[in-house]
């Protein structure tokens, strides 16, 4: 059960990846541009998270659904994948629903 949360996130990322691949929207349209956009957005979100953590606003709970693997204090590995999903998903959606 400890990988449940991580798995759900990865399913989300894969789901978006399949839609991307199927319609040639982002990574399968322009790899460099996608990596740039997703990379920048992830960096922004990560900085945002780190500030929030250092201000004591949020912290990692202990849950039977998480791996417990920490990348930094109060920053679980799942968060990195979540931020990837949070950055990639709007790109795929935006590209899908832009009039084409």
């Amino acid at each position: 059960m400890h990988v449940l949360y991580l798995t759900v996130i990865c399913v989300g990322i894969l789901g978006m990846g399949i839609i991307d691949w199927r319609y040639k929207l982002a990574l399968f349209y322009n790899k460099r541009r996608t990596i740039l956009v997703v990379g920048i957005m992830m960096a922004i979100f990560l900085a945002w998270d780190i500030i929030g953590i250092s201000l004591g606003i949020f912290f990692s709970g202990s849950s039977p659904y998480t791996t417990g693997i920490m990348v930094a204090p109060e920053l679980p590995i799942e968060e990195i994948f979540f931020l990837l999903l949070l950055s990639y998903m709007p790109l795929v959606l935006y590209r899908k629903f832009s009039v084409k």
Binding site: Y5, A26, R33, L36, V37, V38, I40, M41, I44, F45, W48, I51, G52, L55, G56, I57, F58, F59, S60, G61, S62, S63, Y65, T66, E78, L86, S87, M89, P90, L91, L93, Y94, R95, K96, F97, S98, V99
Partner: protein, 95 residues
């Protein structure tokens, strides 16, 4: 009470200054649909994450307003994503 909301408003303001200073043509239909889908997803999944104690908040530092179980401040992340990702994409499309 308001630390989280101040942080999120500050970040949102910083992010949204760029499209004002360096505007780019966005496909607004795409943005709205993206926003709507991500809003629903956020309400559902943020609530699930909080209910299952995967993440926790210092109650003193949040407003105490919720949509579902998600603190209203959390929505700043998805608003940033729904607006800024399309902006970045279009911005890097300019030759």
């Amino acid at each position: 009470m308001t630390m989280y909301v101040l942080l999120n408003l500050a970040v949102l303001a910083m992010l949204l200054i760029l499209p004002v200073l360096m505007p780019v043509r966005l496909n607004w239909r795409g943005v709205w649909i993206t926003f709507a889908i991500m809003l629903v997803a956020t309400i559902v999944f943020d609530s699930l994450i909080i209910a299952s104690k995967i993440v926790a908040y210092d109650m003193d530092l949040i407003l105490g307003l919720y949509i579902g179980k998600a603190p209203i401040e959390d929505f700043a992340y998805m608003i940033a994503a729904a607006l800024f990702v399309p902006y970045l994409w279009e911005r890097f499309g300019k030759k």
